[in-house]
Structures are given as C-alpha cells and as structure tokens.
C-alpha cells in the first residue's frame, strides 16, 4: 500500500519542480511513509528522523511523514518532522511545503487555472509516478472496518472506502496498453471492495471480472494480482472469476494469522479456521494450479503451546508456497496493546523457526514437482548470483536462470526448471520465446501436493 501511496506523493512533489536525489544525503526534501501494523516499522521512522534532524544542523532540509500515523504518534511526529500529513491530505502538500520556504516555482493556480484544488488533488486521481515500467500497484480500496485486535490500521487510515470502479478499470486499461505486465490491486481488505457503497458500486468479484475482461481482450500478456483479502469477505464467486480469466493471476494471498480458533477469537478476526478451510478447498477445486501465500503472527498475547501447535498443524494442512511470519509486537493504538505481551521473545523466535521449517518442507516438496517443467516467468532483473537473471512465475515463485541479457528485464520468458530449493528455483532459458504466451506449460491438479 505504501508503495502505491509513495508513487502518488512522488508525482505531486515532482510536479512542483523537484527531482529525485541521487542519494539520501544530497536531498533537500526527505520524507517517510510510515506503517502502523507493527511497532518495528514505527521505531524505524523514529530512528530515521533522528538522523535527519542531525543533518538539519548543517544543511537546509525539510522533512515530512505520511502514511499510517496514529494520533499518539502524530503528536510526537509533529515535534520531529516539519510536515505531517495523511495521504488523503496530499492536496495540501504543495502549500505545506511552500510554508516551509522551500524554493519552488509551483503554484496550484498557475498549473490548474480555474479548477478547485479539491478536484485536482483527490488522492486517487493523482497520477502516480510508477516506480517500474513493467509492474505497477493500483489502489482500489483504503482503510479497514475489521478492527482486528492486533492492528491499528482502522485508527490510522480510517474506515473502508472504495475507489470508483470506472477509475480503477481505466487505470488498468492504460497500464496494460502501455505494456505493463504485472499489476497488483491494493487495499487493506481488497475483497471488501464495494461493501461501503452497497447498491452504488460493484462487488470485488464484479470488479475482478471487469478487469479480467479488459485485460484478456487487450491481447497483451499481463498478470493481475490483488493483496490482501480478508477471509471473512472471501467468496466462491471471486475464486470462480479468477479461474475464468487468463489474465487474473493464479496466486492467492490469504492471511491466516493463526490456526487456532481461540486465538482467532481473541484476534477478533471474525472468521473460523473452518471458514478458512472451506475457502482453501474452493481454491483447490476451482484453481488447482494456484499458489497459496499467507500471513501468520506467532506469540500473540496469551498464545499457548497448544494454540501455537494448531497453527503449525494448519500450516501443514494448507501447504503454503510462501508465508510471511511475524513475531507479535504490540502496536500502540490497537486493542491488544493493552493486553499483556506475555510470550517471551525467545519463544516467539522459536515458534517462528518452527513455522519456517514447516513452510520450507512444503514449498520444497512443491518446487520439486516442477523440476523438468517449463515455466513462464516475468523477468525482474539481474540475480544476486553473478551471471544470472531472476524472475517470478505467475504464482510468484522465484526462478533464476543463467543470462546476462539485461534487456530481458520486464519481459516474459520460458525457463525449464533444473533444480530447486525451498524458496527458489533455477533453470535454463528456452531460447527465442520472449513475449510468447502460447508455450506456457501449466501444471495441473495432478501436480499439486
């Protein structure tokens, strides 16, 4: 989400005449987009501003912070940063900056004579400066109404608000026509899309259908992803739509958070393990080739060994391809921050290791079934390993292949898999196949573990 926000904020700043600095040290204007999901992210903001404020003693520098900012942090940030604003307040950024005396030729009236500022700077209508020429993030929904007890997002980003479907589809259409090959629909709860505007806006499944149709009909190859959905609002219709459109990527990120009913109750996730299981069953039935990713928190307040063991069992059962496992850290502002953080860091670390081992086991088994198969990849650039390029499959699995053809970056290629590890694969490039979609070998239900 922050990447998408930063693309829009960058656009506004560049419209004011600023140019990206080569390094942090050379910048006249420095900003940070904070994230309130975990305390660790906020701690990093404090550490960064401490450094910048030291620099300010020696040079002219303006600092800002935006993103997810809790009221309590906002009070502190106001003392540390020159400017604190919510993404929705981006329309006021030029005025805020001019108040800090930064030289700029920018003038709202000069750029957009006769128009109301509010109309121009509605956040979603700001053109983003996409950070890449082949992958992009498109926000479709902002805020959260779920109030999970470990999360402060509803208090920082506010309630769920859906962006106009017309605007979203148009942005996708332009991106696809401009040759973008990977587009991710973003939101705190993407599949809650439209629930805030019942009767006035289409549902998430209908939005996906429109996007799938527009992309399929473009004749261009592009993979459309979305993140993150909430199990509570996940419907079979969404899964059906994904199965019906070639362009809708066969990769689902479905946060589990815990595999124990009691912990889910305390986390106020408002769904059961059984509900989660029925969604996964539908995915396996309707999109057997789909890869499955998840988010898990270990060491949540009061999590017993037996409860943790249920999460491990759930990981074993759902056989994820990837899991983002986090040690619980209380986030001020969230309900659980007032509960005892009673699981020691050592236990949290141990539980994280156990789940990582479980994940490795399944992802390795899955990757092994792909040896000898040819997979379609979107090339992201040079690999860390000298003489190799790296890319992601439609299911977002990492594959590297020997090549120094940097021009392949941003292209689709086919690679025959020769060896695998739990989290990566290696293979040989099939020559002369860039941009060809016909030769994809899909791995079907019988190949899934």
């Amino acid at each position: 989400m922050n990447q998408s926000d930063s693309e829009r904020i960058s656009h506004v700043i560049e419209e004011m005449g600023y140019r990206k600095a080569v390094s942090e040290e050379e910048a006249d204007l420095l900003g940070v987009l904070s994230c309130s999901v975990r305390q660790k992210s906020i701690d990093k903001v404090y550490s960064r501003i401490a450094k910048w404020n030291k620099w300010k003693r020696k040079k002219s520098l303006v600092t800002f912070v935006s993103g997810c900012v809790l009221p309590a942090d906002k009070e502190k940030f106001l003392k540390l940063f020159d400017i604190v604003f919510q993404p929705s307040e981006i329309k006021q950024l030029p005025e805020m900056l001019s108040q800090y005396g930064v030289a700029s030729s920018y003038s709202v009236e000069q750029l957009y004579p006769g128009l109301e500022k509010r109309e121009i700077f509605d956040f979603w209508q700001v053109d983003p400066d996409y950070q890449s020429g082949f992958y992009a993030y498109v926000p479709i929904q902002n805020g959260c109404d779920k109030f999970c007890s470990f999360c402060a997002v509803p208090y920082t980003r506010g309630r769920e608000v859906s962006r106009s479907s017309g605007e979203i589809v148009e942005e996708i259409r332009q991106l696809v026509n401009n040759g973008y090959k990977s587009i991710t629909l973003l939101g705190q709860n993407v599949n809650s899309y439209g629930l805030d505007k019942k009767g006035e806006e289409i549902s998430f499944a209908e939005l996906l259908r429109k996007i799938g149709r527009v992309t399929d009909e473009s004749g261009k190859e592009c993979w459309i992803y979305f993140t993150s959905p909430h199990p509570r609002d996940m419907t079979d219709e969404v899964i059906e739509v994904i199965s019906q459109h070639k362009s809708l990527a066969k990769q689902i990120h479905l946060p589990l958070q815990s595999g124990d009913e009691r912990v889910l109750m305390r986390m106020k996730r408002n769904h059961s393990v059984e509900k989660y299981r029925s969604i996964v069953d539908s995915i396996h039935k309707l999109i057997p080739e789909a890869t499955l990713f998840t988010d898990i928190i270990v060491g949540f307040s009061g999590e017993t060994e037996a409860q943790f063991e249920n999460t491990r069992k759930a990981m074993h059962e759902f056989k994820y391809n990837m899991a983002y496992i986090a040690k619980y850290s209380p986030r001020p502002g969230a309900l659980s921050a007032r509960w005892e953080d009673d699981i020691s860091n050592d236990i949290k670390k141990k539980r994280l290791e156990i789940l990582t081992d479980e994940l490795k086991k399944h992802s390795f088994e899955y990757n092994k079934t792909l040896i000898g198969k040819t997979l379609r990849l979107l090339v992201y650039g040079a690999d860390k390993k000298q003489g190799y390029m790296t890319g992601l499959t439609e299911g977002k699995l990492t594959v590297r292949f020997p090549s120094t053809e940097y021009s392949l970056k941003g292209s689709f290629v086919d690679v025959k898999i020769s060896s695998v590890t739990p989290f990566a694969m290696e293979g040989e490039l099939i020559p002369d196949n860039t941009q060809k979609a016909e030769n994809i070998i899909s791995y079907g239900a019988e190949d899934c573990i």
């Binding site: 009221p71 919510q86 109404d145 109030f147 509803p154 920082t156 506010g158 009691r262 393990v273 309900l335």
Partner: protein
C-alpha cells in the same frame, strides 16, 4: 488539519451517569441520529484527549438515547474520567464498529443463548431491548448479585445469574459450570462476550456438547 480519524469523530452530550455499583455505571448520551446494529461498539474518549476505549452499546436500536456500560478500571485512562462526567458535559465517540450482531434471518428462525461475564452483558442488553420477539436465554456470570447489571430488562424466566461470591443468584458458580451441568438445546446459536478465558472455556464445553464453530459467536473484551 483534518485527519481520517477525526473525520469520524462525533461529539455528543452527556444526559446521565447512572451508578450501578461502586465501580460500574451507565453513561447515557445524546444519540445524534447514530444508526447502529445491536452488538456493535463505540470508541469513546474525552474531548482534548487522544485516549479512546471500546465500549459495546448497551442501549437498544430503537432507544432515542445512546448508552454504554462502563467498569472503572484502576489506573484506567478513560474509565476513570468517564465516571466524573456530569449531564451537559461533552464526550467524543467514533463508530459504530464490529460484527457481533444477529442477522435478520437468524432472528426469525433461531433460538439464542447469550453468555456473558461482567460488563460483557452489554451487547445482550442491547439485543434484548432491540428485538422484542427474540427467543433467548441470558447467562450472566458475576461475583455478587449487585453486579447483575440491568437484570430487570430480561424476561426473568430466561435470565440465569451465576454468582461466585454469594448465593443470591439463580446458580452458584461460573457460567462455564452452568454450561457443564445443564442440558443445552443443540440447535441454539451461542453468543459469548467478556473475558477471553471465559470465552475459551465456554467454547471447549460447547464443542464437547456438539456445538459447531458456526453456531458460536464471540466478542473478547480482554
């Protein structure tokens, strides 16, 4: 500068503070045309303070006022201040939030068992005030009979007070003991609200009695 949070904030006026016990009281305030579903909660705080706390709505959907049930917490940053409010004072709130409600379909077709510990009875008080023809039982666990908040609201044939420190209730012991010792209609939907330990224990008991996860709804306070 308006923020996304402040845009949701409403300021209401206190109508009455009704003391129920030494440490528990009802805050009644102007409703401000707030539309809510019984079972939802508000985030409440004092003007000029960033501290807010969650409280289930105690009043009914059709009441022309809004109420919350508050237990004073030692060193509580909000509850300590709420009890000193007077009629006419201002109070901020956000909401309503939450999914601890009853669907229209279930209201028509199902029987309900509401199990609460302490002030966890608040959403059930709201249910009962809102839905006059609902088929329900309330099981309220407290230490002493004085903590039987709003007991007159319920049909006395459908209200079971479980007390642990005196024998003035209809059952001496915890709500979980009551659940173990009594036969339960296996078709009922069970709503659990209050502290997590009660919810966990009740969940285990209900499972052993054959209730499926889909029949159980929970709201953990702490």
């Amino acid at each position: 500068m308006d923020t996304a949070v402040n845009q949701q904030l409403k300021t209401t006026t206190i109508k009455e503070i009704k003391k129920l016990t030494e440490s528990t009281f009802i805050v009644r305030m102007d409703r401000l045309d707030l539309d809510f579903r019984a079972g939802q909660y508000l985030r409440v705080g004092l003007p000029n303070s960033i501290q807010m706390r969650e409280y289930s709505i105690y009043s009914g959907e059709n009441d022309d006022y809004l109420e919350i049930l508050v237990k004073e917490i030692l060193d509580g940053e909000v509850s300590q201040k709420l009890c000193h409010l007077k009629p006419g004072d201002a109070l901020n709130f956000e909401g309503p939030f939450g999914f601890f409600g009853i669907s229209e379909k279930d209201l028509q077709e199902k029987k309900f068992l509401f199990v609460a510990s302490g002030t966890g009875v608040a959403p059930f008080h709201s249910f009962v005030r809102s839905y006059k023809n609902m088929d329900y039982f309330v099981l309220h666990g407290v230490r002493t009979v004085e903590e039987a908040y709003g007991r007159q609201t319920y049909n006395q044939d459908r209200y079971f007070l479980c007390t642990t420190k005196d024998k003035a209730g209809s059952f001496n012991g915890r709500v979980t003991d009551f659940l173990i010792k009594n036969r339960l209609d296996p078709e009922m939907l069970v709503y659990l609200c209050g502290n997590s330990n009660m919810i966990y224990d009740a969940y285990e008991i209900l499972q052993t009695k054959g209730f499926s996860r889909d029949q159980i709804f929970t709201e953990a306070y702490f």
